[in-house]
Amino acid sequence: MGEASKKREGVTDVDPQELERLFSKYADDVFRLAYSYLGSRPEAEDVCQTVFLRLAEGKAALPPEGEKPYLLKWTANACKNALRSFWRRNVGELDETLLFKDPTDREVYAAVKALPPIYRAVIHLYYFEGYDQREIGEILKISRTAVQTRMARARELLRKELSDDEGTVPAHDGACDAR
């Protein structure tokens, strides 16, 4: 049975207390994925708000299991929509490297920020959230092959960006191994 059909089974509407629990538990995760995707705090905040409002307004319901993957899936969709918006395509981005105090954090962020958004999302879901290729594919609605390709290209680009710090990004860090 396909994912779309699964989503219809056993879904539950969210009561206020449950909504508060979900927001407290996952707001930062949703925000981080949006931030990694869009590279902008204000836009990531908007996406975070959109995702949870969708839940509050009853426009979508979470299945009892897998709350987080579904929230991240909606987040990825909202980010894709944001990337296509007129505003996004016509207004420059802020330099947010200044938000990181640690020089290494700034360097890593600048390297990741230089990646295309679709690569950043894969990197984030793998490196930070710890999802495997299949799970990343389900969240981003792309094939496992596409996950592999994006991961490999992202690692290659990161290697080039951080090439003055040899060893920071090993030639093969297992990122694409089946887990």
Binding site: R32, E45, E57, D105, T168
Partner: protein, 275 residues
């Protein structure tokens, strides 16, 4: 790299003030008004501009990967059947080729554009979409194919592949929606109606392939009151519909020889799909 990335991203959190602001909005949010499901389904059916008669003609089944298969008749007396729901898997619009995205961007309205090619593999290469393999279909004497794309402001929402044999006796189509449509419509609300010349007598049966795939087979037998064969296709026909790997497939075979041979050919095509 993983540790460095984690170290950096752990510092990325939603500000407490912003959390409080969003939480307050969530507390004030009211459930959006939604039509009850039967009404939504009815509205979508109406959008297809088909006013259907509720009659004793109707019989509802669940098969072929659809929520329901229903024999119907339009107000003008055309017999047919409607398919509701389907086990759709939305294609990622991002995975489509620049050519398809360009088609959608050319006219961001709900427009349809055509790519016409020699065979289905050309349309696959053009679109970046890989369709389920079927060696029986590959072995057919294909005369041509097209790919049509519908789009909205965000990009392509629906792709429809169709190919046909020389002489047009067999046509096969596969259609899928992209994730740009997925947000807008519940798969259980998807509806497609297929209607034929007045006078056809329809019967349905479920066919299960050896690999366990379920398909709806509809037999169209010419009956009394068939229209002018010069104007309408009035030959005996078999139609098959099924959901496979997120695609809605439709196969049509005109009976050119014996009815048994046509049905056997249809079964062969269906058996060519592997789950």
């Amino acid at each position: 790299m993983r540790e460095q990335y984690r170290h950096m991203m752990e510092r990325v959190t939603l500000d407490e003030d912003k959390k409080e602001e969003i939480m307050n909005q969530l507390r004030e949010a009211k459930p959006a008004r939604r039509f009850p499901r039967p009404l939504r389904t009815a509205l979508i059916a109406a959008c297809a501009c088909l006013l259907l008669m509720g009659s004793a003609f109707a019989a509802v089944y669940a098969m072929g990967g659809f929520a329901s298969v229903e024999l119907q008749e339009t107000e003008s007396g055309k017999p047919g059947y409607g398919l509701t729901g389907g086990d759709f898997r939305f294609l990622s619009a991002e995975s489509l080729t620049d050519e398809v995205l360009a088609l959608a961007e050319t006219d961001p309205a709900y427009a349809t554009r055509y790519f016409i090619g020699q065979d289905w593999s050309a349309a696959e290469a053009f679109s970046g979409v890989t369709l389920p393999e079927n060696p029986v279909i590959d072995a057919l004497d294909i005369g041509g194919c097209f790919l049509s794309v519908q789009s909205n402001d965000a990009g392509p929402t629906w792709l429809h592949f169709q190919q046909w044999t020389r002489g047009l006796a067999v046509s096969i189509s596969a259609e899928a929606y992209t994730d740009l449509m997925g947000e807008a419509l519940d798969p259980e609300d998807f509806f497609v109606g297929r209607y034929f010349a007045p006078g056809y007598e329809l019967s349905t049966e479920e066919y299960i392939t050896r690999s366990g795939l379920s398909a709806v087979i509809v037999h169209l037998a010419p009956g009394d009151g068939m229209p002018d064969p010069e104007k309408y296709n009035t030959c005996e026909r078999y139609e098959a519909d099924l959901m496979l790997d997120g695609f809605r497939y439709h196969i049509n075979i005109d009976v050119d020889g014996s009815s048994e041979e046509a049905l056997e050919q249809l079964h062969g095509i269906l058996e060519g799909f592997a789950l």
